[in-house]
Symmetry: C2
Subunit: 235 residues, 2 copies
């Protein structure tokens, strides 16, 4: 049975990397001595090594060792054998390209469906949806497909922001972009604000954190969802 | 010789669609009775008909008739025969997908290289660059390639915004995204603010409008560019 934490962001403003999630991560990974880290999304272009070191420092606070997937000769085997897995944020186009390049998209999906505990932040959460098409990232590389893990029956929009009615900027708002997506695709999109995460465990999907989320469906008014709501009805 | 206007946005806050550009468009299209409109980017998912009607209303103010490319049986022939061409904003992934679907990417490039006057706004300006990879849009459809017209030897980032140092949002800033692009691609990116446009005429590329632009190059500090600067040195 799936055991996933899908967080909107790794970091809250004014606090350290992963700090706000550590109490939850301690429980989530309680049976893991080592967690496999997937650094492929490379935020700001940092190397796999740098990103893995940064993540290892944060996980050391809860006595968990981090191993980067790039340290293994066979990434698929590393996924299958992992006690727990964490995919960090960065650029979703790059992350998805790399998952296809190393031929581990399906292995990762199958492994997580069997119950290996998983944490995703930002891009690492995006890939749990049906497709990466509601990412906010720039298309810096061309992936072979936009299809992703499909561990949840909808898409996520991470770092979600409500419309800023004071803005004089004429670029599309996040809501406009999601509605454009829904003109061409018929599955729901959950806008997950920074500080929120989905906890998917024992067959239940629950919105965690202090904030509400926003659910978008084709031809429907968006719905505000309160924290602690059970979301298994969304499909 | 190329004769292009590439605008960051179609509309300034508090003013009507295309209004701020009309004096420039009157000159730019002075030899055109009719301009061919490419509505493929469909902002907010509006139909080709609606988008073309909206554009026709704006161009009527300068006594130019607008014909939508979707009204023609052979879009390539419509491009070749056009007195002038305007590609409107919306979703760049959709626009590029449609240009490939109708097999007019190369025809459009060749036609504009011969000197047919062209206006692009937002997504319609993005496609003048080497690739669409510095778009801000969501990947709502999967295009067969990210390569675009290459009418200028660099990429544009439209609706460009400087970093908001007051923001507590942890999603990537525009500048971070462009720098991630430059980690994986080695051509310049010009951040074009709303109200700015490039005028490419008689072999010269000039930054127009009241605002500065920002030039990003791989491994270099971004450069602020003053309005009226000649930009032909960028490559």
């Amino acid at each position: 049975m799936k055991n996933l934490l899908l967080a909107s962001t790794s970091t809250l403003h004014g606090s350290d990397y992963l700090d706000y999630l550590l109490p939850e991560l301690k429980l989530h990974f309680e049976n893991c001595k080592t967690v496999l880290f997937i650094p492929y999304a490379r935020p700001s272009g940092i190397s796999h090594e740098e990103y893995t070191q940064k993540t290892a420092l944060a996980f050391a606070k809860i006595n968990i060792t981090i191993k980067g997937i790039h340290e293994f000769e066979d990434p698929a085997l590393a996924v299958q054998n992992a006690e727990g897995i964490f995919t960090g944020g960065g650029n979703t186009f790059l992350l998805v390209s790399q998952l296809y390049y190393y031929k581990i998209m399906i292995t990762l999906k199958e492994t997580l469906e069997k119950g290996t505990p998983y944490l995703g932040t930002s891009a690492g959460s995006n890939i749990a949806g049906l497709s990466m098409q509601t990412t906010n990232d720039m298309p810096i590389v061309y992936p072979p497909s936009f299809q992703t893990l499909g561990l949840i029956p909808f898409n996520l929009n991470v770092h979600f922001l409500d419309i800023n009615s004071q803005s004089k900027h004429m670029g599309e708002s996040r809501e406009t972009r999601i509605n454009e997506f829904l003109q061409f695709n018929n599955f729901p999109v959950l806008g997950l604000k920074e500080g929120s995460w989905l906890k998917i465990k024992k067959g239940k999907t629950i919105l965690k954190g202090n904030l509400s989320a926003k659910l978008f469906r084709k031809n429907q008014t968006p719905l505000e969802i309160a924290t602690e709501t059970e979301l298994s009805y969304i499909q």
